[in-house]
């Protein structure tokens, strides 16, 4: 039987996030783990700032494991104080082919930038 090596990121691109039938049938212990673990997108909030920023993705069987894996993979160097995990299949992305029609029309509309106003001192986080 041919041996296939698996690398991080090999799975999760297809709709089901799982390996092919043929691969599923190979029961060899080590290589069969992780086949059908869904992919998760991880967002971390740093000590400075209120927003969660996308930091990368990882594999996990469920949300609980996704949080724990994110803690181990993405917060090892004190990067954050809060973690969000979203299963990748629920992320809807805009189509790069439509970039012209989606974004270019905003190019020449400087009046949409609120740079002509004075902000009161009491307004935070702007």
């Amino acid at each position: 039987m041919a041996i296939r090596k698996y690398y991080y990121g090999d799975f999760g691109e297809s709709a089901t996030g799982s390996a092919s039938q043929e691969e599923k049938q190979s029961k060899s212990h080590v290589s069969s783990i992780g086949h059908d673990w869904p992919l998760w997108e991880i967002f971390i909030r740093s000590k400075q700032g209120l927003d969660h920023k996308h930091v990368g993705s990882l594999h996990a069987t469920d949300a609980q494991m996704a949080i724990e894996n994110a803690r181990d993979v993405y917060t090892r160097r004190q990067e954050g104080v809060s973690i969000w995990a979203v299963e990748s299949k629920y992320i809807r992305a805009s189509n790069p082919d439509e970039a012209d029609s989606l974004y270019d029309p905003a190019n020449d509309k400087a009046y949409r930038h609120p740079t002509f106003y004075k902000l009161p001192d009491d307004v935070n986080y702007m």
Binding site: W37, H59, E68, N69
Partner: protein
């Protein structure tokens, strides 16, 4: 020099170092990248704890002893770690169960050490307690996932329990230096921890749909006094190789 206190510190240090060495064998071989990182993170936490205990022991020993000489230049019979931590990794079930048994014990032990009257030990325990809390949570999760998982994962967890349970009794049978440390209120009375430890194991086993092992199983012992299973020699051979072959070599 307080000989029993040194022995006690070496026992605490050896436990964490040998388990760290075992866990680090997974580095690059973890079942998935995320867990590969998780288990090596735990290794690094444990190495950090062992360094703190070795450094303190080295000060008490004097005579140019260092954390390195204590880790790399002692022989098998001088190591005082529990038999549990030197057992082979086996599969993921055995590795996580070994971690769970040990972390559940450390979780109780470090709470006691924080209350002790040796400021240095208390400070190390306080810092390490947060790490151990996570190790316990992480390993508990795996016991539950595998125990209450598929037929195969349950079989593997049951095999791991069969294999490792016999090494858990030793944890709670105090060696002379532990009794002495408990008497001087700088260490913990380990026999008093057993009840809470069993309670924690039972709680997690129940959630994992695993039955507790029978009570009359014969318990192995000896590690605390330097009488080890065959595995420790191989661990030391690999871990100490560089310092034995190139004495004093540094990065």
């Amino acid at each position: 020099m307080n000989n029993q206190l040194v022995n006690y510190l070496l026992h605490l240090a050896d436990n964490t170092l040998i388990l760290a060495q075992r866990n680090s064998e997974w580095c690059g071989h973890g079942p998935v990248l995320e867990q590969d990182i998780a288990i090596t993170n735990i290794s690094l936490d444990l190495i950090g704890q062992s360094r703190n205990f070795y450094q303190y022991a080295a000060i008490l020993i004097g005579n140019s002893a260092t954390e390195n000489s204590l880790a790399y230049l002692r022989t098998e019979r001088e190591f005082k770690n529990l038999l549990l931590v030197e057992q082979p990794n086996g599969d993921w079930a055995a590795t996580t169960l070994r971690q769970f048994f040990f972390s559940a014990y450390q979780y109780l032990l470090y709470q006691q050490l924080q209350k002790g009257n040796d400021a240095q030990i208390a400070a190390i325990a306080e810092k390490a307690f947060k790490e151990v809390t996570y190790h316990l949570r992480w390993s508990s999760e795996w016991i539950i996932r595998l125990g209450d998982g598929t037929e195969e994962s349950k079989d593997r967890m049951l095999n791991a329990v069969d294999e490792l349970w016999r090494f858990t009794g030793e944890i709670f049978q105090p060696a002379a230096y532990e009794t002495e440390a408990a008497k001087n209120v700088c260490g913990a009375d380990v026999s008093a921890l057993q009840k809470d430890w069993l309670k924690k194991v039972q709680e997690i086993f129940e959630e994992a749909t695993l039955s507790m092992p029978k009570e009359n199983i014969y318990m192995q012992r000896g590690g605390k006094d330097g009488v080890h299973t065959e595995h420790l020699g191989y661990i030391l051979a690999e871990m100490q190789y560089l310092q034995r072959v190139y004495p004093g070599n540094e990065w």
